[in-house]
Symmetry: C2
Subunit: 202 residues, 2 copies
Amino acid sequence: MEKQGIESKIQMKPSTFLNPVPVVMVSCGTMEKSNILTIAWAGTVNSEPPMLSISVRKERYSHDIIKESGVFAVNLVSRDLIRQTDYCGVKSGRNTDKFADLKLTKIAGEKTGVPMIGESPASMECRVKNFIELGSHDLFLAEIETVYVSKSLFDEKGAIDLRQADLVAYNHGEYYTLGDFHGFYGYSVASEDALKRRMRIK
Amino acid sequence: MEKQGIESKIQMKPSTFLNPVPVVMVSCGTMEKSNILTIAWAGTVNSEPPMLSISVRKERYSHDIIKESGVFAVNLVSRDLIRQTDYCGVKSGRNTDKFADLKLTKIAGEKTGVPMIGESPASMECRVKNFIELGSHDLFLAEIETVYVSKSLFDEKGAIDLRQADLVAYNHGEYYTLGDFHGFYGYSVASEDALKRRMRIK
């Protein structure tokens, strides 16, 4: 690789330049009165217990619903849900019922009763543990209480093959599906045996 | 789309199932004594001011360096940095100098003096504002103080074309570059004119 010093860079003003980031449909409310909002300011924050965070602008319709109920669901986005995801990011639940508009199936989460999106390849019920005001956004830190995965993603051995989900990332304001596979965690120091087994080398 | 009810799902025990997530090289320490660690538990958390979070296990070598100095840099990962990224995720800075091992160029951030990785397509200097213990991981919430972008990513009009960076996402323990472009934020409700201009339809 070519050496890259300071002369190869342009310094910009501070901005939210972390890329790519996830993009998920967050569902909230009750089975009767539900909403969906699209969130890209989301991330995993803890492994034991499993926790994730979402950041939500105070003025968004779902902000108070989540704050008051203390629960929400995170629904992953596959290739065939990109248009619906974008729609849920630009329309407000104040004015429309997005589940109805998009003909999405509601499933009640067992632990929280929160509505989840059946068409999503995987959904997580989340319970808010911390709430932090940061400025434009409020941060909800939440424990993941259940994970629901579509049966179609399990292979013949019963393992989850997440490549089948064709998941979507958000990159500088644009939606992309994942492309080429390059390796698994640890591949740079793995044995030849492990590489043969896991790098899908024929 | 086919309706997907609860009968199409398998309920699993709670796990960190948010996918895809970012994967970044976090650099820290001083220009003399630097380290790099790989982080997938990262995310944007606020827009004004721009903030991001990283979650770091207490036992990792860089944990105390970041906690004591209060600064770090986030370096984005392009296709040609995947092997180096994996290496920085499995090796500890207690035992080796990863900048030297990988022959990466150190650049000092102007605001914090923290070392950044010259070969990364974009780097952000970050200053820690909040610190929260969550269990296995500690969460650092940090303000982004500068963004450095490689000159090679600017197009002839002076706009950043981030597709040229060929960025990498982490998906269920595996590294993937981004694939197909599907739309920009708002495309589902955009005018025909905006679609023609921004959807790259010839």
